[in-house]
Subunit: 206 residues, 2 copies
DNA sequence: CTAGACTTCAAACGGCTGTTTGAAAATTTT
DNA sequence: AAAATTTTCAAACAGCCGTTTGAAGTCTAG
C-alpha cells in the first residue's frame, strides 16, 4: 500500500507514516521522508490532514477504531459466560492485536507505533489515546475484577498495569527473541501470544 | 546537578542530556536545548564528546557501568546459595535499578531513557548496549536456568523475554498507576518492585 | 461542453538542526 | 612570571524542518 498507485493519496500517506513512525519515531520521521516514501507531494500532508500532529492521530485512529471494536466484541462473547477463565479473557484482548499484526501489510508495524506512544511522554498523545480508547481497558478491567475477587482494587490495578507492560513490550517485538529462520511470521507471533497468555495469567493469579 | 555550577561542564551536559532524552527522545532533544539547560556553550558538546551520538552513548555508560556491576555483585551473592529462589534472583536484578532510581538526582530519569532505547529500533544503539552490557543478562539467564530445570531452553528464553518487558515497562513508569498523593516516591517505587517480583516470579514458574 | 470543486504541484518562508572555526579566556606547567 | 595547554565562546556553515502559497492540473455535476 505504501507506494501502490492504486491506493489513494490519503491511504498511501498513512501507510508510509506508520512505517516511518515505527522505524524512527514521531519526531525523527519527517514529512519529507513520509511523502517521498508514499510517492506523494510534500504539501499533500497538510492538505489532507492539516498538520503533522493530525497525521499522527490519524495513524492511530485508523487502526485503533477497528482494534478496539474487535476487542470489545470478543470481550462481550466471553465476559458473561460461566466458564470464562483468565486465559480466555487475555485471549480476547490479545487475539485481535495478533490478527491485526498478521493481517494486512503494515499491521505488524502498527504495534511498534503503539508501543512508541507509551515511550513518548507526550501528554497530548496520551490524552488523545486515553480519551478515545481508554474505555476498552476499563471494560476489560471490570471483567478481570470478576475473575479475581480475592484481589483488592489496588492489587488488581498493579497487576493489570504490569500485564499491560508485558503485552505492549512483547507485541511490539522489542524483545531479544528473533523469529527462527524456518519459522513463518504467523507461527512466530502465535507462539509469542501463547507464551504471553500463559505467563500473564500466572502473574495475575499469583 | 543539571545546572549547578559546582559540577563540571561534562557532568552538567550529561545530566541535562539525560533529562531531555527521557522527556523528548534522542532525536527530538536538540543540542541547543541540552546546552541551554546545562548552562553551557553549544560547542561544549562537540568539544567534550565529539558528537551527539557519542553523548548519547556516554549517558548510558555513566549509569550502566555502575548498575551492571551492582547487579552482578548481588547475583554473585545469591546465585550459589542453596536457598536461592526466583524471588531472590529477581530481587538481585531489580534492587540495583530501584536504588539507582531513588539515589541521586536524575537516577529515576535514567530508567525512562533506558526504556526509550528499547522503543528506538536504532540498531547502533542496540549493538552498543548488547556489546557492552549483554553479559549481565546472560549471567542472570544462567542462574534462572538452574532454578527452572523443568523448562527447556526455548521456553526459558520466551519467559525471560516477557519478564524483561514487564520490568522495563514498569521501571520506566510507563504504566497508568500514579503515585498516590500521600505516598513518598520511595514508598511508591518499593511497592512497585514488590508487585513486580511477585508477578514475574509467578509467570516464570507457571 | 463548460463551470465549479477538488487535488496536486514546485517553490519559497522563517526557523531550527549538528557541526566547525578561530579567537578569547582560563588553567596548568615550566 | 612566562609559556603551554585546556577550555569556553560567539559566529557562521550547509542542510533539513513544518507549513504556506498560488498556479496548474484533474475530476464531476449541470
Amino acid at each position: 500500500m505504501r507506494d501502490n498507485p492504486q491506493f489513494s493519496t490519503r491511504q498511501r500517506i498513512l501507510g508510509a507514516a506508520e512505517e516511518l513512525f515505527a522505524e524512527r519515531g514521531f519526531a525523527a520521521a519527517s514529512l519529507r521522508q513520509v511523502t517521498a516514501a508514499a510517492k506523494v507531494n510534500l504539501a499533500a500532508v497538510n492538505y489532507h490532514f492539516g498538520s503533522k500532529n493530525n497525521l499522527i492521530e490519524e495513524v492511530f485512529r485508523r487502526r485503533l477504531d477497528e482494534l478496539s471494536q474487535r476487542r470489545l466484541e470478543r470481550l462481550a462473547d466471553v465476559a458473561q459466560s460461566e466458564s470464562t477463565t483468565l486465559e480466555t479473557l487475555l485471549d480476547a484482548f490479545i487475539t485481535p492485536a495478533l490478527e491485526l499484526s498478521l493481517d494486512r501489510e503494515g499491521g505488524s508495524v502498527f504495534m511498534r507505533v503503539l508501543a512508541r506512544a507509551f515511550a513518548e511522554h507526550n501528554s497530548n498523545l496520551r490524552r488523545f489515546l486515553s480519551k478515545n480508547y481508554g474505555y476498552v481497558l476499563k471494560d476489560f478491567a471490570v471483567a478481570f475484577a470478576r475473575l479475581l475477587p480475592q484481589l483488592d482494587k489496588e492489587e488488581l490495578y498493579w497487576r493489570l498495569d504490569i500485564a499491560v507492560g508485558a503485552l505492549t513490550y512483547a507485541m511490539a517485538d522489542f524483545g531479544m527473541i528473533q523469529r527462527r529462520s524456518g519459522e513463518s511470521e504467523r507461527a512466530h507471533r502465535e507462539n509469542m501470544a501463547k507464551h504471553l497468555i500463559h505467563f500473564t495469567a500466572a502473574g495475575l493469579r499469583a
